[in-house]
């Protein structure tokens, strides 16, 4: 027993001599120190992450006069929630003075189909790529991924032309098509890796049972995809909700998303800036994705886990 051999009490025990049990090293204290370290790190990290939020919230509760004084970290001397009200329903961007709320339902209308369709298509693509493997399919996927590296803005002009030819420009279906196109690389990647982690035997068995491409997909794969779908949904909701440039160009005036209002509130070159309203508007706009994280936080983590198990 070389491992324990040096321990005196061990030797005596081996020799059959009864000895009073002696506690080995206490571990409770060591663990306490480690715990303190863990919490210290997490709290420090949380502070780092929260500092900008703190400044945003504090700024949104100050008057412009106070902000101009420049005490970034100071709490507001006179609390005011006026900026929040203004941001939501009163601030002017051009002729209309309805705040950022005007685009809320438009954003919802865009987000819902722009989450459902990309996920479905990503699932079909991922399924096709991972099970009906061919060399050509791998190349297609590689190109699709490369597509994700081109700044999307460069593609706007030809896409405007194409959508106009299809009579989809400046319409709700048009903007959804755009989101489908630009989300495809990532969604396909997500589903491909997820399906690749499922045992191939499952699929082979289904083929032997005589299932066709769609039958296997609909009856076997789709029901097993719930976790990764939730992951995809969360990424899509965040991406589409925060999208600005596509919504602006492709959605048409009637369907402009909330972020267009948000940018109108915040961005200006030569106009004056109401920082307090800007901060309130930003926080208000981010509430929907935040709510999605909050509600689905558990699935988010569990879902991705399901996709990442395999080596």
């Amino acid at each position: 027993m070389p491992r324990m051999g040096t321990h005196p009490s061990q030797q005596r025990a081996d020799a059959g001599i009864a000895v009073a049990p002696r506690p080995m090293r206490r571990r409770a204290r060591r663990i306490d120190v480690a715990r303190v370290g863990i919490y210290a790190f997490l709290i420090a990290a949380a502070l780092f992450f929260l500092t900008p939020l703190y400044i945003m919230v504090v700024t949104s509760l100050k008057s412009m006069d106070e902000i101009r004084q420049g005490f970034l970290f100071a709490l507001p001397e006179h609390f005011t929630i006026e900026p929040w009200r203004a941001a939501w329903s009163e601030v002017c961007t051009g002729v209309s003075c309805d705040g950022i709320r005007t685009g809320f339902w438009n954003s919802v209308m865009i987000v819902v189909p722009s989450v459902i369709f990309p996920i479905l298509i990503g699932a079909i693509n991922g399924y096709a790529l991972s099970f009906w493997r061919t060399r050509a399919a791998d190349w297609l996927f590689a190109m699709l991924l490369l597509g994700a590296f081109i700044p999307a803005q460069v593609m706007i002009y030809p896409l405007v032309k194409v959508l106009a030819a299809a009579s989809l420009f400046s319409s709700l279906p048009g903007i959804v098509v755009i989101h489908v196109i630009f989300s495809m690389p990532v969604m396909t990647l997500l589903f491909r890796n997820y399906y690749a982690s499922l045992p191939q035997e499952l699929f082979k068995a289904a083929r032997i049972d005589g299932g066709g491409f769609w039958r296997i997909f609909l009856q076997l794969m789709l029901p097993m995809s719930t976790p990764i779908m939730i992951v995809g949904a969360i990424m899509q909701v965040t991406g589409v909700w925060n999208d600005y440039i596509f919504g602006l160009v492709f959605a048409g005036r009637e369907n402009l998303p909330m972020t267009v209002q948000l940018n109108n509130v915040i961005n200006t070159t030569t106009g004056e800036r109401l920082y307090n309203v800007n901060m309130a508007a930003t926080i208000l706009t981010s509430l929907v994705p935040l709510l999605v994280y909050f509600v689905s936080g558990r699935w988010f983590v569990r879902g991705i886990a399901a996709g990442a198990v395999k080596g």
Partner: protein, 414 residues
């Protein structure tokens, strides 16, 4: 203010509906893309909308923040076959490509009826008139190179008189520094660096050199000592900014004047909006200097509306109506008071305008003092390249000769 505009717009709306009821034709529905999204700008564009509604039209507002983005939306809408009725551009070559592609409707009818040739500054006319046709309706004239100063800061630094020359300005800056204040409030963003450059070019280089460099892109002038002097003066000013300057928004720089922490800022006349937001008035709390000397030029930067090609007679009617409304004297005064700029015509009642604007209008009466800004003479591409060089020079220690060389080669392009 808010209630007033609300009442006004309701009134205008009521008038418009009445007008519609009377006329059998469909209302002139006009969708207008512009980038006036901030508070003061919103108030200004409302006067345009009100004016248009009063004339019987329906104004469909499409505000998109930031000029680049608003213009890009307009262009994409034209390309996509769903053009707006009118779209804002700068008084510049930005829409020249659109004209050349035949994508804009001319508004010669309005120009002839109103006699634009008679009262519009030549500089503006040269931009909106392409091959004898008018393609844009101007709205305003901004002067980007004003010199603002905080009276409180000047008082604290013991500066009694407004600087009259560049040298006096430097003396003042030194005094401000000695008093522990930030001498020059500046936002280190390339377009703001560009504004400082413009101010130095007109005040140190003068009108002739300005035109030679920016209009004629004259290589000899670029290599001249006079221009070298302009560049070194520009760089010298950089020594008066505080450490926090890079990246700062112009509003934050202006706030430094408002709070008396800094003395001087080079900025366009829109800065008045920020002062008035803080309850300060020109001549009392802050001063404005359009330029040094009796003949200092007035740089014109402005906004126009262009009218994308359409065959729909109602839309064409709407386009012509807008062009007429926005250039009418009453709309001009109302709009420019809110916007902080000055009217495109000098034949208006300026009594309601502020001291600085009145000063500007007075200068504009002298045609020999008109100058366009860089955008008017240079293509967007050239202008961008120039601004890249200037901002690099401002921030980095580069030999002035290299800067001259770089500018010469940047302006050679097309």
């Amino acid at each position: 203010m808010k209630t007033f505009s609300l009442v006004a717009s309701t009134l205008a709306l009521a008038l418009a509906t009445q007008a519609n009821a009377q006329s059998t034709a469909a209302p002139f529905k006009a969708e207008v893309i512009h980038w006036w999204t901030s508070g003061g700008e919103s108030a200004a564009v409302k006067t345009l909308a009100d004016g248009y509604r009063a004339s019987g039209g329906v104004w469909v507002d499409n505000a998109v923040a930031l000029g680049e983005q608003a213009r890009s939306v307009a262009i994409n809408r034209i390309v996509g076959g769903n053009p707006p009725t009118a779209a804002q551009f700068n008084t510049s070559k930005q829409f020249l490509d659109l004209v050349e592609q035949g994508m804009l409707n001319p508004i010669d009818e309005v120009a002839a009826r109103e006699g634009w040739e008679k009262f519009l500054p030549e500089t503006v006319l040269n931009v909106i008139r392409v091959k004898g046709h008018y393609y844009a309706a101007p709205v305003n004239i901004h002067m980007p190179a004003w010199i603002w100063y905080s009276k409180a800061a000047f008082k604290k630094a013991g500066i009694t008189a407004e600087p009259k020359t560049m040298d006096e300005l430097f003396v003042a800056l030194d005094k401000l520094r000695a008093a522990g204040l930030v001498p020059l409030a500046h936002g280190g963003q390339s377009w703001q660096d560009n504004i400082v450059f413009t101010a130095v070019l007109i005040n140190v280089g003068g009108r002739e050199l300005y035109l030679k460099i920016l209009r004629d892109r004259d290589a000899k002038a670029i290599q001249s000592d006079a221009f070298k002097n302009v560049l070194t003066t520009y760089k010298r000013l950089q020594g008066y900014v505080d450490k926090g300057s890079p990246g700062r928004n112009w509003n934050d720089a202006t706030a430094m004047l408002i709070t008396g922490k800094a003395g001087v800022q080079f900025m366009g006349d829109w800065a008045k909006g920020e002062f008035s937001q803080a309850g300060q008035t020109a001549g009392k709390d802050f001063g404005c200097i359009p330029g040094f000397g009796a003949n200092s030029p007035y740089v014109i930067q402005g906004d126009v509306f262009v009218f994308p090609k359409t065959k729909d007679p109602a839309a064409i009617k709407a386009q012509l109506a807008i062009a007429g409304v926005i250039t009418a004297p009453a709309t001009q005064v109302a709009f420019n008071i809110k916007k902080g700029s000055i009217p495109i015509r000098t034949d208006v009642d300026a009594s309601k305008m502020d001291v600085c604007a009145q000063q500007g209008l007075a200068i504009m009466k002298d045609k020999s003092r008109h100058l366009g800004n860089g955008e008017i003479y240079l293509s967007p591409d050239q202008n961008g390249a120039l601004s890249d060089i200037l901002t690099a020079y401002w921030n980095r220690n580069v030999p002035v000769e290299k800067v001259q060389k770089d500018i010469a080669s940047a302006l050679k392009q097309r």
